[in-house]
């Protein structure tokens, strides 16, 4: 009896049985099951040639044809030599980086360029370790709630981001840094003292030495770092709270919360890419997509020739 229950193949008996119940073909022989026949192996196998290679060949042909068509029909001339004394206006990264560049407009560069992307990548990589349940593994939409959670999350994120991007327009809506700086200012720079002037005076005596230094450090620490971080975290936590309140019966499981957060991430990624690509004009000002002034490459070339 003991020899009968011991698995002979690579897969332990318990796991093999579970897999068999799910209907997955198991090609391991064990003491209890019959040896697998070569015919069964063949029935479960797809050959590389022709099945895979033909698909790859077709994909390669389609891509080649599309690239040739794009290269023929879409005009994309090179600009002149780069000139370090004259940065093109607006100066944009390749389109697939414009989400990051959009993020850079709104906060300290280390936060937007390093910390946020790193945290996002680590969070993405951590999903399999957070969502460890096996329900619906490998199945699209195993219940009706997943798509609902994802859709709500995407709409929520899009609306919040649109409002935030609209608000952070220093020349048109709110100049966060300048407003905060004016709260910290005192006489004789301004006619009326700002409500937080006592704070800069306090920090000027220690540790910064003088009032302007205290004000500069404080503005960057609060408006460059703290405020954007708090805003980002608040809306992420708020999303989870709202989702948990919307779907209470039965309570959301980890997998569904992860679906919500991931949908929010994808919506953010797409929206930031869209805004960066189609809604930023000279000086990286915000424009409606149909009203973005074209980049004046003519001016840049004239400048390089020394005519402007």
């Amino acid at each position: 009896m003991a020899t009968e229950t011991r698995p002979v193949g690579g897969v332990p008996l318990k796991e093999r049985n579970v897999a068999e119940q799910k209907g997955a073909p198991v090609l391991t022989s064990s003491a209890r099951s019959r040896p697998v026949s070569p015919a069964a192996v063949e029935a479960d196998t797809v050959q590389v040639w022709p099945h895979l290679v033909v698909i790859e060949f077709l994909a390669a042909m389609i891509f080649t044809i599309m690239l040739v068509l794009l290269g023929t029909l879409v005009n994309s001339p090179l600009e002149g030599l780069a000139d370090a004394d004259k940065t093109p206006n607006p100066s944009k990264a390749p389109w697939y980086f414009l989400n990051l560049q959009e993020l850079l407009l709104h906060m300290n560069s280390a936060l937007a360029g390093v910390i946020v992307p790193t945290v996002a990548l680590i969070a993405l990589a951590a999903i399999p370790y957070i969502d460890r349940g096996s329900t619906g593994l490998g199945v699209w939409f195993y219940n009706k709630r997943g798509p609902l959670v994802g859709a709500f999350s995407a709409v929520y994120t899009t609306v919040i981001l649109c409002v935030l991007i609209f608000l952070d327009q220093p020349t048109k809506v709110v100049a966060f840094k300048d407003t905060f700086s004016s709260w910290l200012k005192g006489k004789p720079d301004v006619a009326t003292e700002g409500p937080l002037h006592w704070l800069t005076q306090l920090l000027a005596s220690w540790p910064f030495g003088d009032e302007p230094t205290a004000r500069g450090v404080l503005v960057e620490a609060i408006m460059g770092w703290t405020f954007p971080t708090v805003v980002m975290l608040t809306f992420i936590v708020l999303l989870v709270v709202i989702l948990k309140r919307m779907f209470r019966n039965p309570p959301l499981n980890t997998s569904e919360i992860v679906i919500g957060l991931f949908s929010g991430f994808v919506a953010t990624y797409i929206l930031l890419t869209f805004v960066g690509t189609f809604m930023r004009g000279p000086g990286m000002q915000l424009f409606p997509p149909w009203d973005v002034p074209p980049t004046d490459y003519g001016q840049i070339i004239l400048h390089m020739l020394g005519l402007v």
Binding site: N89, S91, L104, N108, P170, T171, D178, P212, R215, V217
Partner: protein, 197 residues
């Protein structure tokens, strides 16, 4: 049968003949075999390549271009620039800005601003037609939209600090800007400007 043949073949000892000095024909170099010659040639070329690489590495330590930027620039006189003007001076990579400073009793002051953005280093253009909160004329970075006032103070956008300023010395009416002496600051202070007259 085939297996047997293969094993027999591997068992057969292979005879290596090592050409010695006596193999040299024509007496090109007495005592050096063809093998020695090839080996020395290969090692010699490798050595030359390594020397070349080392030379190129050392050459990086020698400054190649010594020009205007980084040195003292005597470019303009006070008469070339009026109050409210911001003048571009390409060789020194700075903007020379002259304005009345209210904190110093409305005296005329000069400040030379290094034109590299404090955010990620784009060249910041002066935009006389744009304004910010009633300040006519701003520096507006084309890369991430940072805005600086005419004294270099950052007021909006992601720039974390005001533009660096360069040391100015006034010799009569001549303005000398030391483009190598750039000062980083966290906030504009009227003390950083040079009072005229």
């Amino acid at each position: 049968m085939a297996q047997q043949l293969r094993s027999e073949r591997t068992l057969t000892p292979r005879v290596h003949t090592r050409p010695g000095p006596e193999d040299t024909q024509g007496g090109l170099v007495e005592g050096a075999s063809r093998r020695d010659f090839l080996r020395l040639t290969m090692l010699g070329s490798l050595g030359l390549m390594a020397l070349g690489g080392l030379g190129a590495f050392i050459a990086f330590f020698v400054p190649q271009k010594v020009g205007t930027f980084g040195s003292k620039v005597k470019a303009l006189t006070i008469d070339d620039i009026k109050d409210g003007d911001v003048v571009r001076y390409q060789p020194g990579k700075f903007w020379l800005s002259r304005y009345k400073e209210p904190a110093l009793g409305n005296k005329s002051v000069l400040i030379a601003l290094f034109w590299k953005c404090k955010h990620l280093g784009c060249t910041v253009p002066w935009k006389p037609d744009e304004s910010f909160q009633g300040n006519e004329g701003i520096f507006h970075c084309p890369c991430h939209g940072s805005i600086y006032l005419r004294n270099g103070q950052n007021v909006a956008g992601p720039a974390p600090a005001p533009l660096d300023f360069m040391a100015i010395t006034l010799d009569g009416r001549n303005i000398t800007v030391d483009s190598g002496k750039r000062t980083t600051r966290v906030q504009y202070d009227p003390k950083q400007a040079t009072v005229i007259g």
